[in-house]
Symmetry: C3
Subunit: 266 residues, 3 copies
């Protein structure tokens, strides 16, 4: 039995998710399709790349991660399959697959070009259903990677902002990469940056967002502070996150994805 | 292994979807339940009929399409099973199943009346759980269609607005049938109408919506025009659709389902 | 084949649901994971307990109900497994599992303490993924309950408001426990209370909410009254519910969860 995970920006209102799952199940009847999410902000490649990178590794080895966040659908952008150490990644060549695939270790990349694998009629607006889903389902059935199309050596890398670390002043200029439905604000600061700056549980941090400044402590979890109070924590994806115990930090801070944050040890 | 697709207006907040899936799995343990959507606008039979007609055909032959959009629940409206060439459709007799079933080719229709198939206690407000789900699950187990209830020859047809085509002026008066979460505006104009009017990629169209007029070209996909610009396209369900590349056409046009649109070749 | 149902307040936007399902599937490849809902109001133990109690019983015997609504995550609150007559319940010891487990009949309770069952790195903010999911998946694989941790005799009971019944005046002071996406307003009045007060279909009720008063009849279902008119009914979970035929009762009444309602037979 093969697992296909599904990550899209389709939303849950239309026929899009149903059609993709129908195709997957028709071509590979014993596949297990697992939704990651369909609520990626429309066309937001960075958000999709972050969400994928936070959960791909929890799936069984051999899982096919099918990602359809595809603002360039119908134009000449390529579709690709990336084989990594433990997984397959299928989706558009726009950077969305790269952070997860790199972390797992890329072994080979194929350009999706073999039209025999596609549905008979390919809609120019729905490659998810007509190209990516049939290719993912055929991978689940065990086709050769070589039959997908030519092996390629170059793919598009996403232009992610890297945090700027000032070791002397123990300061990081970073960016909001994700706000979840609790209002927790994930940054692009990873746990190794915290280690380099010797930030530990209990360390006080000054947070500057636009013209606001607040002080928080790095704490293990929400419940270590009174309800309604802000804290910093290492989130379950290994990123520095700003939160409010039982509150909505994003609303409180008036902050949105891509906003810059300056974090200083005090 | 049998597939049951599930299309409802339950939303995703309550216990409704969980209860239906529980019943399906209890009665037919090896069934594969695939969500189409649960976010049909409440009681919107037309929207549900459109979404079903756009994706039913991608499922494996033998799939049981279970549709619960049922404003008349608890009254004397019938429940029905329609056997078509390749599928089974289960739901209320209110027109919601008809467009998809007609397209696939209706072979026989049964009125759901055999109470032995129902759950022991039938709630007057939740036939989805207590009547439709057990019937669908028993179909998945292979019961005889005759055991469901009497074969019937008449069902309720939905009152869908048909586009009015003026061949001389190359004009169509049509209607919005669906707005997806991207804000794309699907009309009830099918691809054969476009062919009759000799509308092709590149053809300029004048679009009149209430007191607004705009000009668009029919293009293959979003990426064929600059970001923020409007276009017309044939959507992945074969309907004429108004869209904005990386924008929300419905918001821009101030338009909602059932609004009338006049489209003229210029 | 084992079934795990999943009930959380994660929402559907982040990587949370995907990560949990990945873990479940990796540890127990042939498990069938069925979503109840992920849209429980954040940290709302009462709402989650109600939704669980309304649908747990429709699942196959042996189903593992995994509930992650966990405002105390990362603090010293316990994780528990409750074995009932027909099911297993896994989640935090905060009362969320209790109403359903009590109804089915509690046989034994275990404190989740055996770290060998957990994922290697336990995030203090995501016990759902790192502790509860692996324990649920291992239950699905058939581990001994004794290997989970010590058997315990006390758990936290939820502080639910019980309706106050005034038999002489045929009056109940009750509370809103759930508002679904149709705007139907479920109260904590159960069907046996209605029987004690001799409330039947057709009985007129005076409903007082804050400074508003309205009269409704108890009717079997929505369609027994004209569109736009209010009614009372016994909902599909056996509770007294206020509704409007094809309308939104919660909006109309300006009411929200936990609001008090006085219901009087007239």
């Amino acid at each position: 039995m093969k697992v296909i995970s599904l990550l899209t920006d389709f939303g849950l209102k239309g026929y899009y998710v149903g059609a993709v799952k129908g195709v997957l199940t028709r071509i590979c009847p014993d596949v297990k399709v697992i939704d990651i999410t369909h609520n990626i902000s429309k066309w937001d490649i960075r958000e999709a790349a972050y969400v994928l990178s936070c959960c791909y590794r929890y799936f069984p080895s051999g899982t096919i991660h099918l990602v359809i966040v595809d603002p360039g659908v119908g134009t000449k952008r390529r579709g690709i399959v990336i084989k990594t150490k433990r997984y397959f990644f299928v989706g558009p060549d726009n950077g969305v697959l790269v952070p997860a695939a790199l972390e797992d270790g890329i072994e080979s990349i194929y350009s999706i070009e073999n039209k025999e694998l596609f549905l008979e009629d390919v809609s120019p607006t729905f490659h998810g259903r007509d190209i990516f889903a049939p290719v993912a389902a055929r991978l689940a059935r065990g086709i050769n990677l070589e039959s997908i199309g030519p092996r390629i050596m170059n793919i598009i890398f996403p232009s992610f902002y890297e945090p700027k670390i000032d070791m002397k002043n123990r300061e990081v200029i970073c960016e909001v990469i994700f706000i979840d439905e609790f209002g927790n604000v994930a940054t692009n600061v990873k746990i190794d940056t915290l280690k380099r700056l010797n930030i530990k549980y209990g360390t006080k941090l000054e947070i500057k967002i636009q013209d606001k400044t607040l002080e928080v402590k790095l704490l293990p979890s929400f419940g270590y502070i009174d309800e309604g109070k802000p804290l910093a924590l290492v989130n379950s994806c290994g990123r520095l996150e700003l939160a409010i115990n039982r509150g909505n930090a994003a609303e409180f801070l008036g902050i949105k994805p891509s906003d810059k944050i300056i974090i200083k040890v005090i």
